[in-house]
């Protein structure tokens, strides 16, 4: 079935390629040429909205918290598949509750025959976790196949969490230093504010949706960071270029021009990334489902918004381009009277 669909799509591509190569396709302009949206004026709306959303996200983080996955919390996780028919979750629950391992969570995962079993970390040493796994295996018996097990002791889980957080900070600092070298410090600071904004909102999303926060979430966060910056840097690059070229243009106008001239690229790239993520979300299977869902939110929703509405306009407040008038070749008295 999927094979035929794939072959069909392949044929479509071949035909499209030939048609395109012959120049027979009509030109598609997703974004009209030379747009002139006043993005920087939106900062009066976008900044308060972002601030409010960030506060909501932080509040959520402290009230709802994150649904720490086994990587960071420790404990035992089993993915089982019924040998025949659908899995009887109720019967399984009764059996496993009787083991006295504390809270046992059962959840359908993927298809009706798959069940995900989570058992909280057992008090005591690493050996206690192992004993719990042995008991679980025994109680489940032959009616199910154990597809996957994960057992993490308390210390390893704590270390992984600390490492993950450290990595996140490290990445932000490293990127900051790079931007500082390549641009001026204001750009680096602006990018970092945008960065933190991305991460805060994504963490808020993870708190609301209660997806497992585990090592792959850290991977997702870092990827979001990378892509959002990628976007920001493209706009910053243009701003820098415009700053060199137009020494007299007022900052808001200059920023607007920069954002507008990179707008079609931003949108087209986001469509392609979204298409790739969509494929992963729909066909990648449940194992990477939460990973792609978080990425979808971060890259597609937050990342683009941040680069356009936060990262660029914030440069006004950081004082970028204020002293251009002092440049010897373009100093004009008319501008100075304004200050």
């Amino acid at each position: 079935m999927t094979q035929t669909v794939l072959i069909g799509l392949g044929v479509l591509i071949a035909i499209l390629t030939v048609v395109a190569a012959l120049g027979l396709l009509p030109s598609l302009r997703i974004v009209p040429d030379a747009t002139h949206f006043d993005f920087t004026r939106f900062r009066r709306i976008s900044f308060p909205i972002s601030a409010a959303l960030s506060i909501v996200a932080i509040t959520l983080f402290f009230t709802h918290g994150l649904n720490l996955g086994i990587d960071f919390k420790g404990g035992t996780l089993l993915e089982v598949k019924a040998r025949s028919g659908t899995a009887d979750i109720a019967a399984m629950r009764t059996k496993l509750d009787a083991l006295g391992l504390g809270e046992v969570q059962l959840q359908q995962f993927g298809g009706p025959e798959n069940v995900l079993i989570r058992v909280a970390e057992q008090p005591g040493s690493d050996a206690a976790q192992q004993a719990a796994l042995q008991k679980l295996r025994g109680a489940l018996g032959d009616s199910v196949d154990i597809q996957r097990t994960e057992v993490l002791g308390p210390r390893v889980a704590g270390e992984l969490l600390a490492y993950g957080m450290l990595g996140l900070m490290l990445a932000i600092v490293a990127i900051l230093i790079y931007l500082w070298f390549r641009f001026e410090w204001q750009f680096a600071l602006g990018a970092m504010i945008a960065n933190v904004h991305d991460i805060v909102l994504t963490i808020g999303f993870m708190s609301i949706s209660q997806v497992d926060f585990d090592l792959t979430s850290i991977a997702a966060l870092l990827t979001i960071l990378g892509y959002s910056l990628n976007d920001t840097v493209v706009i910053y690059d243009r701003i820098r270029e415009m700053l060199r070229r137009y020494k007299k243009m007022p900052m808001p106008q200059l920023l607007n021009e920069s954002i507008n001239s990179t707008l079609s690229r931003s949108i087209i790239t986001h469509v392609t990334v979204t298409l790739a993520l969509l494929a992963l979300l729909l066909f990648g299977g449940h194992a990477i489902h939460s990973f792609t869902a978080v990425m979808m939110f971060g890259v597609v929703l937050v990342g683009t918004y941040t680069s356009i509405f936060i990262a660029a306009p914030i440069l006004i407040y950081l004082g970028v381009g204020e002293h251009r008038e002092d440049a010897p070749d373009t100093a004009t008295p008319a501008k100075k009277s304004k200050a």
Binding site: Q130, R148, A171, D237, V273, L278
Partner: protein, 534 residues
């Protein structure tokens, strides 16, 4: 920007071609690739999440190592002072991570210090140039001498313990007959064991969970076990229980006749008379001599075979055993006899290991993940390719050629590095496809802009490339930094993601700077276009 010398063009194509060709071994069955020359054998390794298997993180008990060391120092101190005839009161005690002894006579303190200092050795043996020693002997005042282990010495000891443990773990895992297990050190006190294809690591954990310290000792027949339990235990003996249920107490002398280190071989066999599973063993020469002497002196008395402080069996010596071999019977099953033989052959661990992290994936789930990952990769790529065709037409074709070579190069580089492909890694490749076309988008949009700015076709293309390439480099380096950090902190699947993401960025920048430009340059030379169909 659009001019390439013949050699440069050739170089670019050859580089891309060679990197792509590195992916070829992946398309042939593993057995066939094995017959190829060594340089052609590099291929992708599937992560445990895709091929199924067990991942165990073992921790060496550092407290045990420390306690062993302190106990050893205590025994050394006791012996040294006795040999030097220096009196001490209250015994030698292990206290606060150090060994303490109170010298009875004030005048003896200095000679005692001198004698005890002889116990300490320079760290790192003969090569040691750090000036540090493995033992710190200080006068704690009031006639008390304290002997502590400096942190550097402790680290050194842990390092040796880990090295030794890895060897033993390797031998034990290899006995399971698994394919290509990976055993490596992680951090200061951990050992990583990855066994592809092993679905249930229960037996492996049982094998690794035993230190397997084997000892032959005499049973103390002077006191019956029940009286010993009541507290009348002779100082040179200790109370041990049997390994098999029900737990039966034994009074066993502390002195070791022969230790497991003297064994040269152990095999699980069947007893010729009773037919039950037993473990037969062979001693080396010195072990055989010691065993022969002990059995000759103690005919008619029981001795105990002790494994990890549990008595496996306590047979009575009927006649001297001089041949240097024997057998252990102790209500074994075939499996437990086999396991004991493996443990004895592999040798004892210097310290107990605990499993601190365990992850297993069944082969079915792995296969499922591969199929889903592949499907997502195909669908994602097709969507992106179609979108690019529709958006940029002829230049979309160029972009698609570039992205196809890009992906082939990712697989080539991954194979060249023998990198591990994981499910998040596949996701990384799909994402790379999405982001790789971004470099083309940047270039094309810039060309469109330059055209709008009034340039003619060729100069617009030239300027488009020139301006966009700087941006491409900047924006990709930031993502690369994120990938590098991820590689550094991540393990397993996450590291697999970081690898594909990072390599994807490298190939993307390469194709943008060379291949895309080359393709467009050729087209310009061939068509001499008056307008750009973009």
């Amino acid at each position: 920007m659009l001019y390439f010398t013949r050699w440069k063009a050739l170089g670019i194509i050859l580089t891309a071609l060679i990197v792509c060709l590195c992916a070829v071994p992946n398309f042939f069955p593993e057995a066939q690739v094995k017959t190829w020359p060594a340089w052609a054998q590099r291929r992708l390794v599937l992560g445990l999440d895709l091929q199924g298997g067990s991942y165990l993180l073992l921790e060496v008990d550092s407290n045990y190592v420390k306690k062993e060391r302190l106990d050893q120092i205590r025994d050394d101190v006791r012996r040294t002072l006795r040999d030097a005839k220096i009196g001490f009161t209250g015994g030698v005690a292990v206290r606060n991570d150090a060994v303490e002894v109170r010298i009875t006579k004030e005048t003896d303190v200095q000679p005692a210090l001198a004698k005890l200092r002889e116990l300490s050795q320079p760290l790192g043996g003969l090569m040691g140039s750090s000036g540090q020693r493995d033992l710190e002997v200080v006068d704690a005042g009031g006639g008390v001498i304290r002997l502590g282990v400096p942190p550097a010495a402790m680290l050194d000891r842990m390092r040796k313990t880990i090295e030794q443990s890895i060897q033993i773990v390797e031998r034990r895992v290899n006995e399971l007959g698994t394919v290509e297990p990976v055993i490596q050190r992680q951090g200061n006190d951990r050992i990583l064991v990855q066994v592809p294809g092993l679905q249930d690591p229960t037996r492996l954990k049982e094998l690794l969970g035993k230190t397997a310290k084997m000892e032959f000792r005499m049973v103390d027949t002077s006191v019956p076990p029940d009286q010993a339990q009541a507290g009348r235990l002779p100082p040179e003996s200790e109370l041990l229980t049997s390994a098999s249920p029900p737990p039966t107490p034994y009074v066993v002398k502390k002195q070791v006749l022969v230790a497991g280190g003297d064994l040269t071989d152990a095999q699980a066999t069947f007893d010729q008379r009773t037919g039950e599973p037993v473990v037969s063993f062979k001693f080396n020469t010195s072990g055989a001599r010691k065993f022969s002497q002990a059995t000759t002196e103690n005919v008619g008395l029981p001795f105990a075979i002790v494994l990890d402080n549990k008595v496996i069996s306590a047979p009575v010596i009927r006649e001297p055993i001089t041949g240097g071999q024997g057998q252990i019977s102790g209500s074994f099953t075939v499996q437990s006899a086999n396991d004991l033989a493996i443990l004895l052959r592999a040798g004892a661990l210097p310290a107990p290991l605990t499993v601190v992290e365990e992850r297993t994936v069944g082969p079915g789930l792995g296969q499922d993940s591969i199929e889903k990952g592949e499907l997502a990769a195909y669908v994602g790529s097709i969507l992106v390719v179609v979108f690019m065709l529709v958006t940029y037409r002829l230049f979309g074709v160029f972009a698609n050629i570039a992205v196809t070579i890009n992906v082939a190069m990712i697989f080539g580089l991954l194979s060249l590095l023998n990198a591990t492909l994981t499910l998040p890694g596949i996701a990384g490749i799909v994402l790379t496809v999405g982001i790789a076309v971004d470099s083309n988008v940047l270039i094309y949009e810039r060309i469109r802009e330059e055209l709008r700015g009034g340039r003619n076709a060729i100069s617009a293309i030239d300027a488009g490339f020139k301006r966009a390439l700087a941006t491409i480099l900047d924006s990709n380096i930031t993502t690369f930094i994120a990938a590098a950090v991820l590689f550094y902190i991540g393990t397993g699947p996450v590291r697999g993601f970081a690898v594909t993401l990072g390599i994807g960025i490298i190939t993307t920048v390469f194709t943008a700077f060379t291949l895309t430009r080359l393709i467009v340059a050729w087209w310009v030379r061939w068509k001499r276009p008056q307008s750009v169909p973009i």
